[in-house]
């Protein structure tokens, strides 16, 4: 039987002060969207990003205990599969910029204080007209 020595724990590699990667920033963006929090696009170290991800995850799990429907379901049209001769709309976005869906969600949040239902209804009407 082959016995392989596992590499030692690289303790000197620990560096929570390196700038947070695009991957962690995207993860934050997704979590902020899921909990309904305004995106805070600020420079973070990896350690700071991790702490914030932990905070957002805790908030998300707290919210999941409630019966409120997830906010993400009221935004953005579905990405439809392609049928021959037709090009679907794809909900897009990049690492650096907010996704369309996230931006739409933020607008929904901002409008919530005024009249949530009216805002949603207007959006639906507008979308139907534009088709």
């Amino acid at each position: 039987m082959t016995v392989i020595k596992i590499p030692k724990k690289p303790t000197k590699a620990f560096n929570p002060k390196r700038p947070a990667s695009a991957l962690l920033l995207s993860q934050i963006e997704h979590l902020e969207h899921a909990v309904g929090r305004e995106p805070k696009r600020i420079k973070r170290t990896e350690g700071q990003a991790a702490r914030y991800i932990g905070e957002l995850t805790a908030e998300l799990l707290r919210q999941s205990q409630t019966t409120v429907a997830p906010a993400s379901r009221v935004i953005a049209p579905p990405a439809a599969p392609v049928t021959p001769g037709m090009t679907p709309t794809v909900v897009g976005g990049t690492k650096a910029a907010p996704t369309k869906a996230h931006a739409a969600f933020n607008r929904t949040l901002a409008a919530r204080g005024k009249s949530k239902r009216k805002t949603a209804k207007k959006k639906t009407t507008k979308r139907r007209r534009s088709r």
């Binding site: 039987m1 590699a13 990896e46 932990g54 995850t57 379901r73 897009g92």
Partner: protein, 379 residues
Amino acid sequence: MMENRSFDHMLGSLKAVDARIDGLSGNESNPDTKGNIIKAQPLADYQGQLDPDPDHDFDAVDQQIFDGGTTPTMQGFIKNYFLQRKDVSHSQKIMYYFPANKVPVLTTLAREFAVFNRWFSSIPGPTLCNRAFAHYGTSFGHVDMSLFYVNAKFKSVYQRLIDANHTAKLYYFDQVSSSLEVINLLKDQPKLFGTYDQFLEDCRRGTLPEYSFVEPNYSDHDGPDGAVIASDQHPDHHVAEGERFIASIYMAIRENPALWSSTALLITYDEHGGIYDHVPPPSCMPDGFVAQPKDTRTGQPFHFDRLGVRVPAILVSPYVAKGTVVNGVFEHSSIPATAMKWLLPNFDNTQRSPREAAAPTFLDLLTLDTMRTDTPEFS
């Protein structure tokens, strides 16, 4: 599923010890921005060489594969990495790969079990859209890091299994590392999730679900017992910590005899992370979506009709013959496809992506009638 390393970078050295493994012969090269021909070399280090993180957005990978042309020559890696630091010498490090003895966990598992010569990332693009294929069999038209699951047409493999009274779970490392790409499930179905510590406990108790997906730690952060080092191997995280993570998963399964005899472990990477690989990605079954030029940033739409760059993939089980080398083409849709073939073989194909429905599965690699007793241990 680990992060951002190409097949050649991690396993390319194995060609020297087993010619059936499609790694590096020593003659593979890329031109740098001054026209020098730079060969792939076994000089990869655990940390410090790939900073900044090599670009692996769709347009960057397009340059890496096509080098501005229309043929996938795999000749644009150095030129693309040069764009980030404008340092010719540094850009050449994108060609470095690990000698086998520097990544003993991964290379031992590759030689002792089944290694895939042709496992490609699902999209020539970044992390989240590639990982989406492992969970949903599609990225719903996305080639970037945006929210892909809003009004998703197809259910995740976990939802499908749970709906059919099977058991499934995603284990993220800890709450601070969290889950990467299925935040929607974390909110809607938190019971689908567990942590790495719970995974180890479930292995000890023999209470793993029928299907599990394990995520590494994505960040260096403080834990209750001190420093927690990232284990995802994403550049510039320390590769040895990822080796330790993979070994811990393997040993957790192996140390429970009942679990070991009934479990197959697939180890793979989401995408190549901008790091050199010599095999041009092939065409594939389109998944029914089209990404627009504004999202691909190449001036062209993408029909999801070709795969991304090759990544390491290893199937571990005591029923896999030692030294198996797999030459068929696989990609991440093969993960849900295999789970479905095993647990829900009569699942309605209209309820999953055409890509997943057509994806090859890999449980037929469990060819042995009796369990092996010569499998390796990690000390």
